[in-house]
Symmetry: C2
Subunit: 292 residues, 2 copies
Amino acid sequence: MNPRKKQITDAAHRLFSENGFAQTSIQDILDEAQIAKGTFYNYFASKNECLIAILETVNEKAERRRIELAQGENKADENVLVSQIAVRLDMNRYHNLLAIFGSVACSDDNDLKAFFKKNQTKELNWIAKRLVDVFGEEEARHAVDHAVMLTGCIHQIIRVWNLGANTEMATETVVQFALDQLKPVIREGNKKAFFPKNWLDLTIDSLSTDYMEMKQQLIIRLSNLTKKLEKEEKAKNNEYVQFLLKEFQSENPRLFLLESVLLSLKHVFEGSSYELEISQIVKMAWQVLDSL
Amino acid sequence: MNPRKKQITDAAHRLFSENGFAQTSIQDILDEAQIAKGTFYNYFASKNECLIAILETVNEKAERRRIELAQGENKADENVLVSQIAVRLDMNRYHNLLAIFGSVACSDDNDLKAFFKKNQTKELNWIAKRLVDVFGEEEARHAVDHAVMLTGCIHQIIRVWNLGANTEMATETVVQFALDQLKPVIREGNKKAFFPKNWLDLTIDSLSTDYMEMKQQLIIRLSNLTKKLEKEEKAKNNEYVQFLLKEFQSENPRLFLLESVLLSLKHVFEGSSYELEISQIVKMAWQVLDSL
DNA sequence: TATTTTTTATACTTCAAGTCTAAAAAATAA
DNA sequence: TTATTTTTTAGACTTGAAGTATAAAAAATA
């Protein structure tokens, strides 16, 4: 990273950790980093952008540490997983990020929101994958469900702990406890999954903020869907999808038509097994429409 | 509630729901409620106070609804519990409160923080109690653990669902799923509990913002502790506790002494079974010290 | 009707975010 | 080295929201 940029993020990082994100003004950062206002705005458009830069370095650090922890170990070793998960919690705590994660929900900055969404999705995906490593292939279909529950438990335990205690609980203890508790759930394999297959992958697709790219992905998903519907000979429902596909691909998509068809689409697929996929597609489509 | 106050909170409530808490300026509220700035500040010292007033009415509504749902039903009926838990989630969703809960973490308003802490503690306590209703007395020792995990799972599932879908998931479905998943955990009774006995009650004690009251509670807890230590003949450790008790009760507590003893206290009890209780007491004590 | 309380309109202060500019300093090219 | 370009600086300026202050009007109460 550009040394001046680093000088700024370092200063901001110190202040955010010590005093909190919302409590730190840009002026504070300027004073701490000993730079002029113009310089700051030369590198960042806002405090939020500066925060993203910081969080990215923290992410990289966490990722490296996780790789280190796995080095030379058996990837099915539960203890490795526990300490790997704890790495991120420790990072959060060390950098006082919990408070920041809170402030983000209140911010209406779309970039920042997208950043956090992407992060969370990545983290869950990673944990799901590792659960399969540890608990075997038969875990695959439920891995996302379990990753979600595991992280939910861990965070809530930490939150509640902090309600009443001022000592810090060792993160590994929490992770280990949550995992132990959930083991009977994980082992009980014959259950119906909550989240649809590939839920997180599909989610990631819709996280792009580049509308051209998003449109491409939308078209891909629509054409996949239409193929699937063709196979199942659901011609009636397929009409809608094919229409959307054609219209989105055309030179000048007619907005009013797309809007109208999107509105009906959800109703058409209500109750079908495609309901969820449709819901994601519709969401993406509206975003693309906004950009047209 | 005073009709004018209600007029203001109603307007604010509308705006918070529609546009979000952070996005609503006080001026917006004045316009919506058709009142002058002075009137607003006549009833609330800040936007946060206004928010608390709103949340209190929502709380009451949720509480009433839960009582209704239990009317004439068997309190051990799992389905009642599920819909009772869902009540609050529906409230949150209906009033768009999730975003608000986020913004609170970023606020440095102590009253607001205390309010949320108290709310969360109450909710967990309530769920823990109800878990005992449904799963029997043998659940008592683990009820808090399970309440924490259950709420953690529920919230995380909803969060992740909202990452990728734009349809709203029926809250009862989520609650039912989480509860079903956790049943093997709940039924496996012979585990070590994570949260100490009465954790939440103890936590509630430390939520008061009235320092006099807090001091009284601190004294009560110290004297309980010293009695317990006496029974166990831990004279050495008891010296510290008894000293603190006497000093806090004295007319003019010597701050420097208290500070110094509090610092050692944690080390003295490190590793003992009192570690957690001590940690809470120390936390309270520091708050009381701040007020002296 | 007289008095007190509440409400209003408006001006004011404070504070932080962010823009703009002209000059100084530093980096780079010739 | 000198000339040119880029980066940095200091500080003035705009905007917008929070919150304070005040005197007059309106409403409630005695």
